[in-house]
């Protein structure tokens, strides 16, 4: 069986800025691939390439063996690509429930009561049931982060793209999130961008480290974290940021 996601020699640059250079990786059903890299390494741009927000200049993206490189974002979503945003992007004037209902009834292709049930189900899963009927724009950060996950899950995706979903959460909240992601992991393929490496190591089967859109290392979490090139570039960049801040 073909892996859920296959990325083949993906390249994209904006002028001098390279966001992806000859990137190849694959993620199977039930597997989680972590992506790490310093700020500006092209992590979110890789997600934008996978989701169809930007087009690659070279390379192919296969979903369940089918080429989706030329498909628009909404068509990819309907085929099972769900994503969360690093900075939550809810439909602000709609309630949490309506946010999730929209996903269930469009990308999730459910109608009427089935869409409502699915929406209620993912709100319960992400602990948002009690806030379901509040406007999404007024929710606190943690709830908006949860809503990102709920909205992506309402699509019943086969591929879930998580963009720094643990960022800004407390230790206890991160732990809750790990439990949640481990629970949904067997039913789909996950690509997770995260700076909180202990969270990533707890869930990811493999980690891909990138810098300037280029692969530096890939392998099991412990091996990648121990990699000399990763430590130099990734940790070095973090230290630089800390020095500036």
């Amino acid at each position: 069986m073909a892996p859920v996601l296959q990325v083949q020699n993906l390249s994209r640059r904006f002028g001098q800025i390279v966001v992806a250079h000859d990137l190849s990786f694959a993620v199977a059903h039930g597997e989680c691939l972590g992506i790490i890299g310093p700020n500006g390494a092209g992590k979110t741009s890789v997600f934008n390439l996978l989701a169809g927000v930007i087009q690659p200049q070279a390379g192919r993206i296969l979903l369940n063996g089918e080429d989706i490189t030329s498909l628009s974002q909404d068509k990819r979503t309907s085929r099972g690509v769900g994503r969360t945003y690093q900075v939550p992007q809810p439909f602000g004037q709609l309630t949490a429930f309506e946010n999730v209902l929209t996903a269930a009834s469009y990308g999730g292709r459910l109608r009427g009561a089935k869409a409502s049930e699915r929406a209620a189900e993912v709100l319960a899963l992400t602990g948002l049931s009690r806030k379901a009927d509040l406007p999404a724009g007024g929710l606190p950060l943690l709830d908006r982060k949860r809503l990102e996950l709920a909205r992506a899950m309402a699509l019943s995706p086969c591929l879930l793209l998580l963009d720094e979903i643990a960022g800004g959460l407390t230790e206890a909240e991160v732990h809750e999130l790990i439990v949640l992601i481990l629970a949904i992991k067997p039913s789909l393929a996950i690509v997770w961008i995260e700076h909180i490496t202990h969270a990533l190591s707890a869930v990811a089967d493999r980690i891909l480290a990138i810098n300037a859109g280029t692969r530096i290392a890939e392998g099991v979490p412990a091996a990648v974290m121990a990699d000399a090139a990763v430590q130099e570039i990734y940790m070095g960049a973090v230290l630089n940021v800390a020095a500036v801040g």
């Binding site: 979503t77 992007q89 602000g92 309630t95 949490a96 929209t102 409502s116 709100l123 049931s129 379901a132």
Partner: protein, 333 residues
């Protein structure tokens, strides 16, 4: 945080039946002169509601909605006079004509965003106005009379016109309600709130926006045709007058953008003020502007926004309640 608002589809359905009955019976009880005033009120309300739909439901801010008022009116007048057809038969096609015009313009104007989009429609309105003003076969600056209604019975014309205006009111209140309650209404709200996320939940943003634009412009066009048929004469300076835009924005902003009730209140206030300030000449436009500024400063969500927040009334609310929370609240009771 905003209190819970919810939907009352049955109440709205009952109201729709009552309103329809009242509108059907109205011509039997109302004098012809008052019927004409009601046609004016109804069509101006529909203009405002079409702009409210675009700005508050689709997320498209246009400064040129008068374009479709003029186009709809000219379509009916020109085709009726040229082919000798009844203007009442042509009225529904003014919707098709204006929707079609909007559909052809969409690929170009959708390339522009926000203020540029808003102004682009205004520019098209000015171009069309100048085009018509310079064509003798379209009556140039002095405009076109409506020939077909001259031989008709006056009260028949007024009554038929009234029924079209009434139909527009029903569409722009209950039709808009039904649309916002539908799956498509959810997509329109999603695109309005965040187009990136809308695409990320599988909504085709371009076509959703296209549908909203075409529908809103078509309704404005049909209302424009109805309005000018009730005055039997159309000329480019009046039909494509940017002051139409001022009136629409006044009504929607003081009533409350993105609500069905807002423009109803706004229209009532507009016609009351116009009655009181009659005879003040151009001063009345300034006073309207001043009233709009005060409302914007005191209540940015309009009068209906204040009423809804303070009293928790939301007759035409379209909130979809979650099944979980419904259970939760039943449990509390």
């Amino acid at each position: 945080m905003t209190p819970f608002t919810t939907s009352h589809p049955r109440l709205v359905a009952a109201l729709a039946v009552l309103t329809t009955a009242a509108l059907v019976l109205a011509p039997f009880f109302v004098r012809e002169a008052n019927l004409r005033l009601m046609i004016e009120i109804f069509t101006v309300f529909t203009f405002a509601q079409s702009w409210n739909f675009l700005a508050g439901y689709v997320g498209l801010m246009s400064f040129g909605q008068q374009l479709f008022i003029g186009l709809g009116a000219y379509f009916v007048f020109f085709v009726s006079n040229t082919l000798g057809l009844s203007p009442f038969l042509l009225l529904p096609f003014s919707f098709v004509f204006c929707a079609g015009f909007a559909a052809l313009a969409a690929p170009f104007v959708f390339r522009l965003r926000d203020a540029y989009f808003a102004i682009s429609i205004w520019v098209i309105a000015e171009v069309v106005r100048l085009f018509i003003s310079q064509r003798d076969w379209l009556g140039s600056v002095s405009g076109l009379p409506l020939v077909a209604t001259r031989g008709m019975d006056r009260s028949f014309v007024a009554t038929t016109n009234f029924y079209f205006a009434a139909a527009l009111v029903l569409i722009s209140v209950f039709g808009l309600y039904a649309l916002s309650m539908s799956r498509l209404g959810l997509a329109l709200s999603a695109v309005r709130d965040n187009e990136g996320t809308a695409a990320a939940v599988g909504i085709n943003v371009w076509w959703t926006r296209f549908f909203g634009f075409v529908l809103g412009c078509g309704i404005a066009g049909m209302a424009g045709a109805t309005y000018y048929m009730s005055v039997f004469h159309v000329e480019p300076g009046g039909a494509f007058d940017p002051n139409w835009m001022v009136v629409m924005m006044f009504i929607v902003i003081i009533g409350g953008v993105g609500t069905i009730e807002g423009p109803i209140i706004g229209t009532a206030i507009y016609f009351l003020l116009r009655g009181w300030l009659a005879g003040t000449g151009n001063l009345y436009l300034m006073l309207l502007g001043a009233a709009a500024v005060v409302v914007m400063l005191v209540a940015p969500k309009g009068i209906w926004g204040v009423v809804r927040t303070r009293f928790g009334i939301d007759l035409f609310g379209t909130r979809r309640r979650s099944p979980v929370a419904q259970k939760f609240h039943q449990g509390v009771r």
